[in-house]
Amino acid sequence: MHYHAESYGNYNASTVRQNAAVDPLERVVRLASGSAVVIFSLSTCCMCHAVKRLFCGMGVNPTVYELDLDPRGKELERALMRLLGDGSAVPVVFIGGKLVGAMDRVMASHINGTLVPLLKEAGALWL
């Protein structure tokens, strides 16, 4: 699992300028396209913990963004809420840059057998 906390560490001036200009939703999309499996999460959220365990249990290595540890995480949360049209912003899962959805959609796709092919297609899972 890769935890990305863009607030600390490897910031250079150009990155900061880039991030400052970007609309939250665009930032979400950009981040989501960065890895095969992307999870937007909150470090205190237990349902997020469950979805992380699900992927790890399947042998997948997802990239996790903890929004409560990001200084602009609040914006991203709001953007995600608008995207899902639902109550809770997290957890939200993207696979291969495409939105899968919140926990219930992820569960449903695993049970109906569409999740594994999606993971394989994105290169997150072999065999």
């Binding site: 205190t44 237990c46 349902m47 913990h49 469950a50 979805v51 365990r53 699900l54 249990g57 399947m58 809770s88 926990m103 219930d104 569960m107 449903a108 695993h110 049970i111 109906n112 057998g113 999740l115």
Partner: protein, 418 residues
């Protein structure tokens, strides 16, 4: 119980059960008789025709009156004497038996102190005997009422498909959301029974796949409905769902996150669903694996919630305990999410079964599921009504055994399809 119960010439069977209860009544009746004097106004009716106020002691008077036919004038005289001396009514009970035994010197006996003492003791013994009998009869009556109530409850439970909702009995402190859900669930169970009967009939009638599919879709919709109802209930009373108070005890034993465990259901079905095509075998196998993985993930999430909750409740000093309570309350709201996801998993599992199997297989599969939970509920019902104490007696033991045989018979009929 009634060792010293004296013989009565005209003692009817009905009288024997009434006499104990009316012994107090008899007092007033016989007092009235006594006050009328030498019993000249006694009615010479047979005890059978007497109304409720008749008593053993009244019978005694009749017996004594009938003794008038026997040439024992002395007895009549002594019987008459007793009312005049103003001694209370129980005394009238004794003289008859005394007289029957020792016929001769009654007039002397009446004056003998030892005899008087003995008569008094006999009066006391008779009184105690009557009271004991009265208590025993009352106990028998209340046991009889209790037994008939038990039988009624069992009959009702049986007709409702052995639904034994635990929520209503738990001290009466059930939330309105929980009570509403329990009612809706009871109605859902009745509908479930109807759906199952419809499917069974359709299978036996060998309807076309198209017709069977319509019936099956109806059954799936029926299941969707209970998950929707549970979602509503989770908002108002998640504890009612997650502790399984809406189910029967045996179901509660296997409870996982407020309902059945999907992987266990799939495992149970695997044995019942033969024969399957290669593709179907793969489908069922994948379903079992994915449900297991999903269950594991949810369980771990819930564990983390519980750990977090424990930390919150345990931590904090006395000063900021209210703050910690507020935090704990906030964490508790997450429970609803887990029950919702678990129900979602259950619903998706049923839908996937519907997809993997043919119409006919799916119909049989859903019948098996319905049968399984019906038996589990029946098990709860039988367990609750099993005879536990010997004093209940053979009656209930026979009844429970009969119930068991009935359940076995009905189950055998249901499973004859497989």
């Amino acid at each position: 119980m009634f060792p010293s119960w004296p013989m009565r010439f005209h003692h009817t069977p009905r009288g024997s059960s009434k006499s104990g209860e009316e012994s107090t009544d008899s007092g007033s009746a016989v007092h009235a008789l006594s006050s009328r004097g030498e019993g000249s106004r006694l009615e010479l009716e047979s005890p059978v025709g007497r109304k409720a106020s008749s008593s053993s002691d009244h019978h005694q008077m009749i017996d004594q009156m009938h003794h008038l036919q026997i040439p024992q004038q002395l007895e009549v005289a002594s019987a008459s004497n007793s009312p005049r001396t103003g001694i209370s009514q129980p005394q009238l009970a004794r003289p008859t038996s005394e007289k029957r035994r020792g016929a001769g010197s009654n007039s002397e006996r009446m004056l003998d102190a030892k005899t008087l003492r003995r008569l008094a003791q006999n009066r006391e013994a008779a009184k105690k005997s009557r009271l004991r009998k009265k208590a025993y009869v009352q106990q028998l009556e209340s046991s009889r009422i209790r037994l008939s109530q038990l039988e009624q409850d069992l009959q009702r439970a049986r007709s409702q498909g052995f639904f034994m909702g635990g929520g209503g009995g738990a001290g009466g402190n059930i939330s309105s959301g929980a009570a509403i859900f329990d009612m809706e669930y009871a109605r859902w169970l009745e509908d479930d029974h109807k759906h199952m009967t419809e499917i069974r009939t359709a299978l036996q009638a060998h309807l076309s796949d198209g017709d069977l599919r319509v019936i099956l879709d109806g059954y799936i919709t029926h299941y969707d409905e209970i998950f929707r109802l549970k979602g509503v209930a989770a908002k108002s009373d998640v504890f009612h769902l997650i502790t399984g108070m809406w189910t029967t005890p045996a179901e509660r034993c296997f409870l996982w996150m407020g309902g059945f465990r999907p992987s266990e259901l799939v495992k149970m079905l695997t044995a019942q669903l033969d024969p399957l095509t290669e593709q179907q075998v793969m489908g069922i196998y994948n379903l079992q694996r994915s449900t297991e993985q999903a269950e594991g993930a949810l369980s771990q999430g819930l564990e983390q919630l519980q750990q977090s909750l424990t930390d919150t409740i345990a931590s904090g000093s006395v000063n900021d305990s209210m703050h910690h309570m507020a935090v704990a309350l906030g964490k508790l709201t997450n429970l609803e999410g887990f029950v919702r996801q678990a129900d979602n998993l259950r619903q998706q599992t049923l839908h996937q079964l519907h997809r993997v199997l043919t119409v006919r297989q799916a119909a049989r599969c859903f019948l098996v599921i319905g049968e399984y939970y019906g038996r589990l509920r029946a098990l709860s019902s039988l367990w609750a009504s099993r005879p536990r104490e010997t004093f209940i007696g053979d009656d209930i033991l026979c009844q429970a055994t009969t119930d068991l045989q009935m359940v076995q018979q009905s189950s055998q009929n249901h499973f004859s399809n497989f």
